[in-house]
Structures are given as C-alpha cells and as structure tokens.
Subunit: 223 residues, 2 copies
C-alpha cells in the first residue's frame, strides 16, 4: 500500500465514484488516497484491517483459506465498492483476504475514530444494504446461470476476469476449485484452448492470443 498525496486526483476519484454520497457527514478531509500494485494484498485474512476501503479503480479478488490450509478464490470485486465493510458491521464475521488483480486505487478511512458514527449513519447503512441486496440478487442469478454452462465457457469468463494486460497466471489447483471442476479436466480444457490458439504458453503463465474467441465462449455468462 502506498499513500498517494495528490488532492486533485483524490477529488476526481471521489466525484466519479459518488464517494461522499455514501455518508451523511463530511468524510473527505479524513480520507486518504492509497495505491495497491497488482498482486498485492489489500486485506489480510483474519487480520481485521484498521481501514475501511472504497475501491475506485482496479479489480480485486476475494480468497478464502480452508480448514486444510488450501486457499480458494471465492469472488471478485469491481469498483466502486466498499472493502472491509462486513467486519465493520458484524465484527463476528471472519475477514477474508482481498488481493489486487491489477493496480488498484482506494479511498481509505481509518475506522477507529468514526466506527460508531458509521454504525449509526442511516445513509451509510442504507447504501451498504442496497449494495448487499444487489450483490445477493446478482449472486443468485449468476449461480443459476453458471449451472448449465460448460467448464470451457466458465473458464473463458474466468480468464477474462482475472487477466492483467493479456497475461493470465492463476494457479490451476485454485482455479479448478473455483470453477468446481477437477484438476484433470481443467488441464484438458486449457490444453484445448492452446490447441485452438486462444492462449499461448509463456514461461510464467499464459498469454491471451485470441481474446475475441474467449469472449465468444464466455458471452452468455456476462452480466
């Protein structure tokens, strides 16, 4: 995390993402603009973050360490959205890890001095409710749609979601779990993507070579 001391950029991000409208009291003076490079961790698992983040640029993924120590990607966040609001509202709920897929900018508020104020701010709470409601609805429809699509279609959508500058390099074992398919089958599908020329293997991972084809495959899953 790097602090960006650029007030005009902060203003611009705030305006674009309707940040101030999320609260009934002025917050901008207490807000810092922070930057997370691709692949860094915004929120560490089981270590409550002292900050409430509002993601304004960049995609992030949510992951989850299981009892057996394995980690599993469980979701994605796209801006604008709050990060760390669950732990604020319900301190009993576990903190999941949030990592940057690409370079990310967040507006950050230190929770401690304003936690009580936030928890009693109907404007803030209402926005969180609406956000959670939408997420719930889209989870539902998403889950409903996911069933009935082949692994190839879902993998194509997943690659487009996690890719950064044409580079794809997620761990196969994790992806197989996320997509709910066996490791073996994932490799079959990837081998097929290589054969079809959708992807090209590189020393560090894969490079997208036919983005249009992936879009075509994934297009039914799009929001």
């Amino acid at each position: 995390m790097r602090l960006i001391q650029n007030d005009s950029l902060k203003q611009r991000f705030s305006a674009e993402s309707h940040f101030e409208e999320q609260f009934s009291f002025p917050v901008l003076a207490n807000t810092r603009l922070v930057f997370f490079p691709a692949n860094s961790t915004l929120i560490h698992e089981n270590a409550a973050s002292p900050d409430l983040f509002y993601l304004v640029r960049g995609r992030t993924k949510l992951s989850h360490t299981l009892a057996n120590g394995k980690t599993l990607i469980t979701g994605f966040f796209t801006p604008p959205c709050f990060l760390g609001e669950m732990e604020l509202i319900d301190p009993t709920s576990p903190a999941f890890a949030v990592q940057a897929i690409e370079d990310c900018w967040c507006l950050a508020l230190t929770k401690a001095p304003i936690a009580t104020q936030l928890l009693n701010d109907p404007v803030f709470l209402r926005h969180i409710c609406i956000y959670l409601t939408h997420k719930d609805v889209s989870n539902l429809t998403q889950a409903a749609r996911n069933q009935g699509f082949t692994a190839a279609q879902r993998l194509a959508a997943f690659i487009l979601l996690t890719e950064n500058h044409g580079q794809y390099h997620e761990q196969h074992t994790q992806v197989a779990q996320y997509l709910g398919i066996s490791y073996r089958h994932l490799l079959y599908v990837i081998a097929d993507f290589l054969r079809q020329g959708y992807l090209v293997k590189t020393p560090t991972g894969y490079r997208i070579h036919d983005r249009a084809a992936l879009h075509r495959l994934a297009h039914d899953l799009a929001d």
Copy 2:
C-alpha cells in the same frame, strides 16, 4: 393470509425470534400476527407488498418468472427472517414471489406509516446488513460446495427442503432448472430413487419412503 388474533401467541413468537430487538423503537403494538397455509403466496411477484413480514414459523421458497414466462425456484427462506425488506430498502429492486412450502406464521408491519422511520433506524438497518452479510457468505460457501456434488445428492437435499409431511410434489420442469440439470437427467435420478425405494409414487406426486437414505445422500450439503 389470515389474521390471528391471539396476543399471547404473538408475544411468544416475538420473544422467540427476537423480533423487537430488530428495531430501536417499539413496534409490537403495530404488529399483527398472520398465518399463511402451505402453498399459499406471501408476496406476489412485481406487486410490492404493503407489509413488511418477519417469518417466525414455516419454510418458504423464492421464485422468479423469467422473460419467457417460465417460473424458476431461486431460493429458500427459513425463520427467523424478514421478507420484503429488499423492496423497502431499495424500491428499484424487483419483488420476487415468495410462497409457503408449509404452514407459515409471520409478524406483519404495515410499511407505509413507518417506512421513513425504518429507513432511518440504525438498529434495523444494522440487523438487515448483518443478515444480508451472512446470507452472502452462506450463498458463497453453498455455491462453492454445490459444485462437485452429483444431481442425486442435490436432489436429495432439495426434496428434504421442499417436502411437507412426507409429501414431495414440485414440478419436474422447475426442479430441473433449479438444480441446473436437464429434465431428462432429473427423471433418471427420480427413477433411480424409486427403484432404490427412497420415494414412492402417489397420484399427486411422491411420498418419502426412506428419509434416512435421502439424508445420507444429502448430508454433505447440509449447512
């Protein structure tokens, strides 16, 4: 919907389900206890309910009419929980149909006189947030777990969830969609359940004949 004028029963349900703790102001005096018989509709699709319900007894299912006119089961509610809170908080969100699987009792509040008060009540909003957060987390883990289970396992869980007094009678076409499997395959699995003696066919539907076996099949999906 039938109004139940039984104050002591209302008190008991309220206490059991921590109803009054959901608000910062007294609500019990304005609350009615209402009853919905099995298979009746609590909330009609796209017709905003004038009431906010708090389900205290009985299971309900959420369904959803698609563009093509088909209806699709998309989820379940188990008490205690609010029904119709989404439309209250976000009037732009569509109202989905909620139907009683078995006899249901709800505490009902007429929205109109207290809507503003509710939307400014941090206690109420916080409870809704926590509820939605939990739902979100359990959706996630549920969806993650669902993948990787066979249709037979998920059907067993589904039957136990929707059964009423040992009777199962959902439409195959809808169930196939809910489970994300083809109609054809659903019939194969049901035929297999009949052959194994888990279910028995009746004129109106099916009767559960070996509940233990269904539990055994479903047990990994349980919450």
